[in-house]
Each structure stands twice: as C-alpha cells, then as structure tokens.
C-alpha cells in the first residue's frame, strides 16, 4: 500500500468557511502519519498546490459566496471521483449565510461607504477581487455532492471514521455520538 501509485489521492479546499474544518482534520493527530501511508495530497492548504488534478476524493469546506468559489468548486467536481461537503457552511451555508437576510447593497454601503476603506469611501472594483453573489449558497446547490459530513466543525474522530470507512471501501457511517452536538 505504500506504493505511491496505489495511494488514494485527496484534495481539500476551503471556500466561504473559516478553515475550522481543516483544523479539525489536523485533530486526528498522530493518526495523520498512518493516514499518509494510505493517501497522498493534491491541492490542499497543506501542499499549497494551486489547482486540483485528477483525484479520488475531494473534500470541500465552506459555502459558495462568490464567483471564484464556483470556479474552484467546479474544478473539484470535475477532477474528484467522490466529492465530500464537510462542515455546516458547505452543507447549509452556515455562518457566512447569515448575510443572506441583508441586501447586498446595504452590506457594501455599510462596509465601504460609511466606514471607508484604504482607498477612501468607494466600493473596490478590481477584477482580481472575486465578485460576491447576492446570497451565500450551500455547495450542493452548485455541484452534485456525494457525501455530507456534518458538524461545526466535525470532530477529528468523525473525520477519521469517515475517511477510514471510505478508504476501506465501506459506506461511511457515523455513530450517534459523532452526530450529537450538545
């Protein structure tokens, strides 16, 4: 299994999220070393690879709040055999979606015109800046998602269980304790 050609290739990214799910992923601690015997990373914040190549598993944190998120997400969907939505934001929009009740005009005015930014009281319009949607969407409204791994964030144990199930060819199944948050 240590032959790199036989390793399962995994990509991860965070869209409109807080990287909390990625931090929780690191909470699998020393099991990470064992995991690396079985998988190798493509694009992730850990490798700093900028674009995703053909992969077996893609794990997406965060919802879709702007045009760039859509490009990244579509690239993941195109390249990953299995696409996993991890955490509340990817699954429902989560905290960023709290802006959905506020008109985008009002948001921009509040942030850029009343307060003023580095460039004075104007809305930035550089093409390099991703253009925001009027609402934040869960990723399954933009691409087909194969698995949803809930939690805010899912615990390291839940992520570990999910990945080992998947790697061992089992249908991932989380025990009640791993889905029980209060």
């Amino acid at each position: 299994m240590s032959d790199p050609k036989l390793k399962v290739r995994v990509a991860t990214c965070s869209l409109a999220g807080c990287f909390g799910c990625h931090m929780s992923f690191l909470d699998i601690d020393e099991r990470l070393l064992g995991l690396l015997e079985l998988i190798e990373f493509d694009r992730t914040p850990l490798t700093d690879i900028k674009h995703c190549g053909p992969c077996d598993v893609g794990i997406v944190e965060g919802g879709v709040c702007n045009a760039e998120n859509v490009h990244v997400l579509k690239e993941f969907r195109k390249n990953c055999k299995v696409l996993v939505a991890i955490g509340a934001c990817a699954i429902t929009g989560g905290i960023p979606a709290m802006r959905n009740n506020i008109d985008l005009w009002d948001c921009f005015q509040e942030v850029y015109q009343y307060e003023g930014g580095l460039e004075g009281h104007q809305v930035p319009n550089d093409p390099e800046l991703p253009l925001p949607f009027d609402k934040v969407h869960p990723i399954n409204e933009v691409v087909k998602v194969d698995y949803f791994l809930p939690g805010c964030p899912p615990s390291g144990d839940a992520i570990w269980r999910f990945l080992t199930d998947l790697l061992n060819g089992r249908e991932p199944k989380l025990d009640y304790e791993m889905l029980h948050y209060d």
Binding site: A67, V70, L104, P124, N125, L131, D134, H137, V142, V143
Partner: protein
C-alpha cells in the same frame, strides 16, 4: 392608520382579560381578541397577558408566534389574505393578488407606508366552491374578480369600516348539490337526544356499534370503539381511584371543526345549515361517555360562523337541550363552548387540537396515550369530526341498522364530498359509500377530467385510468376533499402548491418534517425555476421516504404524497420540466452576480459565470 399606542392598551386589555378569566387555557382566545382590536399583538400586551394568567412572557410569545393569524408586528388596518389553494390558483388568484397590489401601490406581505393595508397569502380558507377567496381581517370574501377588487380597493382607500361594506362581498353560499340520508331531512332539535335517553346510554352505544360508523375526518377509526374506550377509561380510573387533577372524574367531548385540509369545505356547510344536528350528536356522545363539557374547535377561517353557532347554542339551552338536566333527565348536564383557532392546519390533528384548546401552540403529543384516556387537561376526551357527530345524531334517532344498510361492508352510511376544480357544479355532494369516481365526475359536470386529488394534499392523486375506483375505506378513503383537474392543467403546479403548503404548515416540532418539508419546497422551486434534473427527482423520493418513516405525526408522514404520487402516476409532468439529466445548479449562477456587478460597475471576464 395610527397603530394602537401603549397608553390606550389598558383600556383595550382590561375588558378582554376580564371576559376570559385567568385560566391559562384561554391564552389563545385572549390573543385572538387582542389581534382583532389592535391588528397585532403589541409587546406590552404580551406582558400584561403573562402577568394576568401567571405564565411566563415566553409562553405567551410562543403561542403568539405559532399561529399564523396572530402577529407580533403590525399588519395593515385592512389585512387581506388570499386563499392559496390550487383551486384558487386555477381560478386566477395569483393574477388577482398582483392586480390588487398594483392598484394599491403595494408589495405583497409588506404593510403600506401609512399602515392602512397589507396583502398576503394564506392556506386554503375552505371556499374552493366559490373562489378565488380571501379573508379581510378574518372575514371571508368570495368569488373575487377584478370588479370586486376595484370595489374593495375603493372601500379600503376611503377607509370605510368593514361593517359598512356591501354584504354581497361576504356572501358565502352552501352549494349543496346532492343530498342523501344525512342532509336529505332537516334535523328536529331534540329528536336524537330523546331517542338516546329512552334507550339508555348502553343501548345507544350498542346502536352506534351496530351502525359501524367510522370517523369522517379521514382516519376511519370506529366511533363506537372510541366512545367506549373513553367511557371505560373513566370506569377504570374510578375503580382504582387514580384520578389526579383533584379527583375530578371529568371527561370531554370535542368536535373537530378545524377543517384545514385544502379542498375540504363540508364542515363549513354542516355548521352553517346543520349546526343543530352536529350539537345533537355531541350531546348524544356526552350522554354515552358521561361528559358534562364539550368544545367545538372552530378554525379561525370560519369565525364568520361563530355568531350563528352561538345563537343556535343559546336556543338549545333555552329549549332544555343543553345545560343541566337535559330534557328532564336528572343528572345529565352538558354544555358546549366554541373555541376559535388561529390559522394552523396542524390543529386538525386531534392531540394538537387539544393542545390548542388548552391555549398552547398546537403541537401533536406523543401517542399513546391517546386522547380517549388522556386528552383535554389530561382527562379522557372524545375528539370526533363534525360530520361524525352529525352521523351520530342520525344514528341515535334512526338506529344502527338503518345506517349500516347504506354504503359498503366496511364503510357504512354516506359521505359528504367537497367537490371543486374543473367541474361545472362545484359544491357539496352526499353519496353512499362505494360510489365510483367516474359517477361523481359525471354528476358534477367534469369536462375532460384527467386527475383527481382525493382527500386533499395529504391524500391521494388518482389518474384518469383509476376513475372506476370507489370512495370507501376499502379503496379510496377520504376526509371529503375532491379536487378535479382537466387535461389542460399542469399537474406539476398542483404538487408545487402542495409542497409549499406543507412547508408552511409544518409545526416545527420534529426535524424530519420541519427540515424535510422545506427541502421538498426548495427542490420543487428549483425544478419549477427550470434548474431541475433527474438527481432532484431521486432526492425527492429519498426525502419522501424519510418524511414517511421518521415524522412525529401524520402531517410529516403524508407531506411527500403529492410529489410521490405525481412522479409515479404522471412522470412526464416532472420530466417535461427538467433541464438536463445530469446535475444542474439550483439557481442562475451568472444572474446571482448581477447585483454585485451593478454595485462595483464591473463587467470583466471574472465578473461573469
């Protein structure tokens, strides 16, 4: 108009609170009255009610927030709610709503700047035979068209009090098209009670048993069994002295007139023209189970019937048919109180209805224990449908064998059907059980019928291939709704309407229903918006399974029926709407960037998708 200011509030609140006393079961009735006077429930009123009833503020807010006819934000002085059933839509309701909004310079569900008027949708108001219909400050408007809306807009602009509006706007007719054993003869007040008293409680129950009457609210539970369970529950308790509530052996009779199932309006007609028969049946029930108190739970949409119902009750009291020692029978005391609902479909479920009677949010209880042993205030309670009580009165008068001779083996007697949709003669039709759908369609003058929704959104949709099926518990059980769709109708719209209905009416108690009905609605919106795919149909089926198997009560477990039926029986109805077989986003990606493009003034390559 000037919204009610706090200084005025005591003047308004004192009589309301005095009228209802300090029993917390009156909470919903108090809130209804406050809403009536103030057009909303002000925060200060909530405090005063909480102090008066000795309950927490949150308790009062919880109830005020639960019912859709109560509002903690001001609505217009004239608050107009269009009935949003599919039959109203088919009669042009959406266009009419828009027409009125345009006329009044108004946006739907926003109060006008001057606080004068607001317009919105509400669930079916039970006027499907004379739609499009609406409620204005709770009073029904029927047969709406542009002319009537012109007049209404004028009346609103001139701020004429509702009492001075032309009565024809509020006219509700019975539309009884076919009568049989139940509606065919007028009810002689007291006749059934006299017979029951002459026979005795035991014998009357045995007549009920012989009649094999089954509940008319849809579930079809045998009425005699329900009554005898309630009676036995008392006997058991008395035997082993486990009465709690102060050793009070009280039991209750409740008439379920929360006719919320879209497309049903038979109870409206019974209560309008056969109220005596209904009260008579309740009194017979009280005699059999030994109840001394009864409630009629009247849906908020039917409050216009209240005045007449109170008058009938008064007349019956004066005639010795209600009150103490009824018809001279010593110790037989029974009276009936009318409770008004406030716009919650879920209250048609018997345990939710009892919660509502107790002044709480109408959330279904865990069952068992069933209301027959633990109902209103924890006491044994019989909850039956309006039509069931009407049938009971007839049975008490004419005997069980007479009733059992009608209908089919497992469905005795007759059934009232509320027929609406694409037919020449909408209204109430009474048939013996066992009648075929085809026969009914012929009688009602259906032109090229294609599908029929039996028993409302929670029931079954049948296609033209099934028109020889029979109305009976053995084949097509029904609570009475019968909505007809002809060949030209888009049945996707029907399923879409029902998906919205269930999402709106879910009580929010259990997750499968609260979330499931919302997801259903979103998927139906997605397909309707032209973004649907086969994946979405698969998702609807998966969701349907969860709703059916995991929900707390019947609302959730039937909420997927319209989608599942339509996909199974009319797959092309859905497939025609699909954009692609593979996955499609749920919204227009590029369109969702338009606002930001406008704000930033960008139009570069990266500003598009």
């Amino acid at each position: 108009m000037q919204q009610t200011d706090s200084p005025d509030l005591p003047r308004i609140m004192v009589p309301i609170l005095a009228r209802h006393g300090s029993d917390s079961a009156q909470l919903l009735q108090i809130l209804r009255d406050v809403q009536d006077v103030c057009h909303f429930v002000p925060a200060d009123a909530i405090d005063q009610i909480a102090a008066h009833l000795g309950v927490s503020r949150v308790t009062v807010e919880g109830v005020a927030g639960f019912y859709s006819f109560l509002s903690t934000q001001p609505v217009g002085q004239y608050h107009l709610l269009f009935s949003n059933n599919i039959t109203d839509q088919m009669l042009g309701k959406d266009e009419l709503l828009q027409y009125l909004c345009n006329k009044l310079w108004l946006e739907r569900s926003r109060v006008s700047e001057d606080g004068l008027v607001s317009v919105d949708n509400t669930s079916c108001t039970g006027m499907c035979d004379q739609g499009p219909a609406a409620l204005i400050n709770g009073w029904p408007l029927t047969n709406l068209d542009q002319n009537r809306l012109d007049l209404i807009a004028e009346l609103i602009r001139s701020q004429k009090p509702l009492a001075d509006w032309p009565p024809m706007l509020f006219e509700v007719v019975d539309n009884i098209r076919r009568t049989d054993a139940l509606l065919g003869e007028a009810c002689v007040p007291g006749a059934a009670i006299k017979q029951a008293l002459a026979r005795g409680a035991k014998e009357t129950l045995s007549e009920m048993d012989k009649s094999n009457l089954r509940g008319r609210g849809g579930a079809g539970f045998k009425t005699a069994s329900k009554w005898s369970f309630c009676h036995a529950a008392i006997a058991e308790e008395e035997g082993s002295v486990i009465c709690d509530i102060g050793g009070n052996p009280e039991r209750f009779i409740v008439c379920n007139a929360d006719e919320g199932e879209p497309g049903t309006f038979k109870d409206r007609v019974l209560l309008n023209s056969y109220a005596d028969m209904v009260f008579e049946g309740m009194t017979v029930g009280a005699y059999v189970v030994g109840a001394s108190k009864g409630f009629l739970y009247l849906r908020g949409e039917y409050r216009y019937l209240l005045k007449n119902l109170e008058a009938v009750l008064k007349r019956r009291r004066e005639a010795g048919l209600l009150g103490d020692n009824i018809l001279g029978q010593t110790g037989f005391s029974f009276d009936i109180e009318v409770h008004l609902g406030a716009g919650a479909y879920i209250c048609g479920e018997e345990s939710a209805l009892i919660e509502s009677l107790e002044g709480k949010p109408g959330r279904p209880r865990n069952r068992p224990p069933f209301p027959v042993t633990h109902g209103y205030k924890g006491r044994p309670t019989v909850v039956d449908n309006v039509e069931t009580f009407a049938c009971s009165a007839r049975i008490a008068e004419k005997g069980g064998a007479w009733f059992a001779a009608m209908g089919t083996a497992q469905s005795t007697g007759t059934k009232l059907l509320s027929i609406s949709g694409d037919i020449a003669r909408p209204g109430i039709y009474e048939y013996p059980f066992g009648v075929t759908v085809r026969q009914i369609l012929d009688d009602a003058g259906a032109d090229e019928p294609f599908a029929v929704q039996i028993s409302g959104p929670s029931g079954t949709m049948i296609s033209w291939k099934e028109f020889d099926r029979k109305i009976a518990f053995e084949d097509l059980p029904t609570a009475g709704a019968f909505m007809v769709f002809n060949r030209k109708r888009d049945l996707f719209l029907t399923a879409h309407n029902f998906a919205h209905f269930f999402a709106h009416e879910s009580c929010g108690f259990c997750t499968p229903c609260r979330v499931g009905t919302q997801l259903q609605k979103k998927i139906m919106d997605k397909i309707s918006g032209g973004h649907g795919t086969i994946c979405d149909m698969e998702e609807l089926k998966r969701l349907g399974h969860i709703l059916k198997t995991m929900s707390h009560c019947g609302l959730g477990s039937s909420a997927a029926n319209p989608m599942l039926d339509a996909m199974e029986k009319f797959p092309d109805v859905f497939e025609r709407k699909l954009k692609a077989l593979a996955f499609e986003p749920a919204f227009d990606l590029d369109g969702a960037l338009e606002t930001a493009r406008k704000i930033t003034g960008r139009d570069d390559e990266w500003a598009h998708l």
